[in-house]
Amino acid sequence: MRMAELVMGLVMGIFSIYLMWKSAELPIGWIAGEGPGGGAWPFWLAAGMLCSCVAIIFRWAKHVTPESQSDSPFMDRRSLKLFLLNAVAITVFIGLFHIVGAYGAIPIFLIFYLRFMGGHSWGLTSAFALSTPVITFLFFEIALQKTLPKGFTEPLFLPIFDFFY
């Protein structure tokens, strides 16, 4: 935990500096008769972030916060495994949106999650994996007319659209 507190403080400090640098693409100073320039608001707030990070690291060094006193690991093995498993699953899920589209990705994600992470029966899994995309389609595409990404499955939907409109 103590290590993580320092690393987060440092990473966010570096990120603040990046934001300050990026904000400085526009004038960050005071323009006479006009007020602050276009980059001033984000620049000085990013500077505020940097100051906060310095304070966080300072407090870390002085062992003020509970996190900086704690010796317990930031994540135990089991938490890390769960976190990685979920984070990677969502990342792959979002990635699949680009390839097989929403209606391919949703069943794949549900099958993975319900069957392999949740250990539910195939019956329940397939019920959810089949009904969720159908409900999503009817709600978003037909009722709300919001098109979700379809990837290469796009041509499959043309006859469905013909049917509904």
């Binding site: 934001l19 007020g35 906060s52 549900l110 919001k146």
Partner: protein
Amino acid sequence: METLTLLIDGFAIAFEPLNLVLVIVGCALGLFIGAMPGLGSVNGVAILLPMTFLVPPTGAVIFLAAIYYGAMYGGAISSIMLGIPGASTAVATTFDGRPLALKGLADKALVAAATASFVGGTISVILFTLFAPPLAEVALTFGAPEIFALMLMAFATFVGLGGDDIPKTLFSICIGLVFGAVGLDIISGEPRLIFGGLPGFFHGINFLVLAIGIYGIAEMLWTIEVSQGEVMISQASVSFKRILANLRELKLTLKTMVMGSFLGYFVGILPAAGATPGALMAYGLAKTISKDRESFGKGNVDGVVAPEAANNAASTGAMLPMLTLGIPGSPTTAILLGGMVIWGLEPGPLLFVEHKEFVWGLIASLYAANLFSLLINIAFIPAFIWVLRLPFTILAPIIFILCIVGGFVPTMDMHDVWLMLIFGVVGYLMRKLNYPMAPAVLAIVLGPLAEPALRQSLLISGGSFSIFFTRPFASVISVLALILLLLPVAKLLYEKYLK
């Protein structure tokens, strides 16, 4: 008294069979749309707008108003049940609504939210009826300095929101404000903070992307870790007897509801403010005046009713500048305004004179929508509770899917979904280190309102800050805001040096 007769006529219109059906269908649809994370009243109204040409203009606006109201109620559902604010107006509802649900008191929070919304709606309709024309004049004189002063006050009421760790709270506020600045700088007309030159940053970072990332993905990852992927999310049970008991208990919060309603209404009237600042200020005020300040953020019913009363009151308030001035007070009223143009009505000062039946029919149907939203909402509470009792391994993937689809729909851009994932993962790691995240979400909502107002004011005054203290409304609000901002500092100094 003339307005009263007009209102009664309005009710006659609202309760015509067709209009009544439209109100009920609209409320139910709105409730459903609002309860989805990522979809709020703006989406509901915008999406269903083209369907309204099937009915006469009055029926059409009644339908849209019902969706608007239903979605406002629905926003609270997603805040309480999933901990994800469905729209910026419902952010403050998560602060205490979510802890209540986690304690197994979801029904209490839902009943409180629905009732408070109803009280807020009722009070605001009364205020609307009484003071519409004079308030419109006041709203008109509100310029950039007044809006900035108001934003300052919204921040000031929220100073105490974060955790005890001041540098981390400060960090959270600043990062929210910086992210709010991404996109276009309207004063200089230059794009700014376009990270990596990605076109997705041109439209800025949508509030929902950060909110769903933090309250959706990060929160789920957190719950999964805490429960080690086994425990159910909450053990809520419900019966109508309990709902009635909850309703009776709400008497204690009446004062907060009324306070929230008035505050929400008056902030809602101001052009460009919308319902979000009103809801936040109501929460802050409820906390400040409460005798039991410690329990805020841990599941205090007052913390649910204040913002819910305020955001519903504000949504009626926002109708006022729209109808009388043709100026939308919120994104949703902007769409309604577009709708009125489609139906051939010209919003503006003459609307009250030339289309009385339309205006008062709308007001009356707002009231009817309010009532039906309450009834439908309470009727559905058992269903919502049932959803919470699903095993976590079923609920989790469904919430993830809702988050991702909800992150996509507002801008229809996969860029925002990826951004949301990053916010979720980093937000989770930060949350583990006790960084408070709510201030960042508030800052990303208020920042884009505050910064242009500040710079427009300074442009007008030629760079002098005196503009915030020389105009009557601005000076009063600025002074109040400064007092509120300095109060905690003074308290801190007092405790440190004088005790």
